[in-house]
């Protein structure tokens, strides 16, 4: 009976000790990470994480811009990309997250153009930045490197790298480190925007490229919204200011949407839609020029 009583009092105590051990270990890791952050998380937004998550998921993949560039006949321009050798410049978590996004876009660009040798150059820099941000577990560099070594594996390579970046964003949001996701997406978008605006400048007769620059107004609005949540942080406030200057250059650009009911037919079990709606993007060559100058300056501050 006495033995049973001892056991009864011991079980909750053991449970408490185990709980304390588990939670203190977790707190220690988290604390260590937080201390290494130079982005003031404590000053972060008080809005629900779902709101940030839902805006983040709207931002299109830079891969779409790269695919459009290739299809439009734009030449492969490695000189427009950030050099992976710039890695040692990125000493703060702010810069690391931004440039992880930049390098991610560059990797996607090289993959779309099937320049796998160039793509491989980015892998170690990506892995290094991801490791420093405690998200290195999402990059299986060996697999990516193996796929990149063979141009026949392009589809698998694009798939696995897209999945990796999606998983990182999901993980960061679950970990309440959305600010890093915001930086990653912002860096990736600025890099893609720089490439497309430079391509538009180089081929002023290409209306599609001009329109692509113009329609980024929708994305800038989203990025301003996201960065605004973190405006109490000096780094984020700087980015926000840059983005607002860019938005000012977009004020003259109009995106005119006309809705018309779509039609549909079923082909091999797939509903194939005929979209009868349209958008017209009103943008001039001068607009492209001023926008590309602003984007270039912003990008220099990010990669410098």
């Amino acid at each position: 009976m006495a033995k049973r009583n001892v056991m009864r009092s011991l079980i909750p105590m053991i449970a408490l000790v185990l709980l304390a051990a588990c939670s203190s270990g977790k707190k220690s890791d988290e604390q260590a990470f937080l201390e290494s952050q130079d982005t003031a998380r404590d000053n972060g937004p008080t809005i629900p994480e779902e709101v940030i998550g839902s805006i983040l998921q709207q931002i299109p993949s830079p891969l779409e811009i790269s695919a459009m560039l290739k299809e439009s006949g734009s030449r492969y321009e490695p000189g427009l990309l950030n050099s992976p050798d710039n890695l040692p410049k990125y000493n703060s978590n702010y810069k690391k997250a931004l440039n992880l996004g930049v390098f991610g876009t560059d990797l996607g660009y090289t993959n779309i153009y099937q320049k796998s040798k160039d793509g491989i150059q980015y892998l170690s820099s990506i892995k290094s930045l991801a490791n420093d941000l405690n998200i290195g577990q999402f990059f299986d560099i060996e697999t990516i490197g193996r796929l990149a070594a063979n141009s026949k594996n392009l589809d698998s390579l694009l798939l696995i790298t897209t999945q990796n970046f999606n998983n990182i964003n999901g993980y960061l949001q679950n970990q309440r480190r959305e600010h890093l996701s915001v930086l990653l997406l912002t860096g990736g978008w600025v890099e893609a925007m720089n490439v497309v605006s430079q391509a538009a400048l180089a081929t002023p007769s290409n209306k599609e490229l001009q329109e692509k620059v113009g329609e980024q107004k929708i994305i800038i609005e989203k990025l301003i919204l996201l960065l605004g949540f973190y405006k109490d942080d000096a780094n984020m406030a700087g980015l926000l200011k840059d983005m607002q200057s860019l938005m000012a250059a977009y004020e003259k650009i109009n995106i005119v949407y006309t809705y018309k009911e779509s039609t549909v037919e079923v082909v091999n079990g797939v509903a194939v839609i005929k979209d009868n709606s349209s958008t017209t993007i009103q943008i001039t060559k001068e607009d492209v020029k001023s926008i590309s100058a602003l984007v270039g300056a912003m990008r220099d501050r990010i990669i410098g």
Binding site: L63, I218, V267, S277
Partner: protein, 142 residues
């Protein structure tokens, strides 16, 4: 002592298995959907569809679609067909632009060649669904 340990283990096991039985493993369906995107489409996003056993009447995501790009959204659910899950696409003004339910027939994918850049809402609803659970993938091609 041995009996106490066994009893605790059984309590945990029963509790855990009951919880798992009621859960929607949407992740496994999204994973299954990605390779089912039609040839030529590049994977962009995967979406979990968890109707929480019927307590939710819709699950919604949003994405910026771009003029000149063709998108495909497919569905994966328990069983062979789509289990009454319908995917619909709405523009920023909430006009319906696409649906996987056509004249009462529900198909497992929609192909949408976008002609108007903007925010679109990808909405999943449950039309006589048994599991209220599934996954979906979004892909693009130029």
């Amino acid at each position: 002592m041995k009996k106490v340990v066994i009893a605790i283990f059984l309590l945990f096991s029963v509790g855990l298995s009951t919880e798992l039985a009621g859960q929607c493993d949407a992740e496994s369906y999204t994973s299954a959907c990605i390779p089912k995107l039609a040839t030529g489409f590049n994977f962009l996003k995967s979406y979990k569809i968890d109707g929480e056993g019927g307590t939710k009447d819709k699950v919604e995501y949003s994405y910026v679609f771009t003029k000149g790009t063709q998108y495909m959204i497919n569905l994966c659910t328990p069983g062979a067909n789509v289990d009454g899950i319908v995917v619909s696409l709405y523009d920023a003004n909430r006009n319906k632009v696409a649906s996987s339910k056509i004249n009462g027939q529900v198909v497992s994918a929609i192909a949408y060649p976008c002609n108007a850049t903007g925010i679109y809402y990808i909405q999943y609803t449950f039309d006589g669904s048994a599991a209220h659970c599934g996954g979906s993938a979004l892909g693009f091609k130029r």
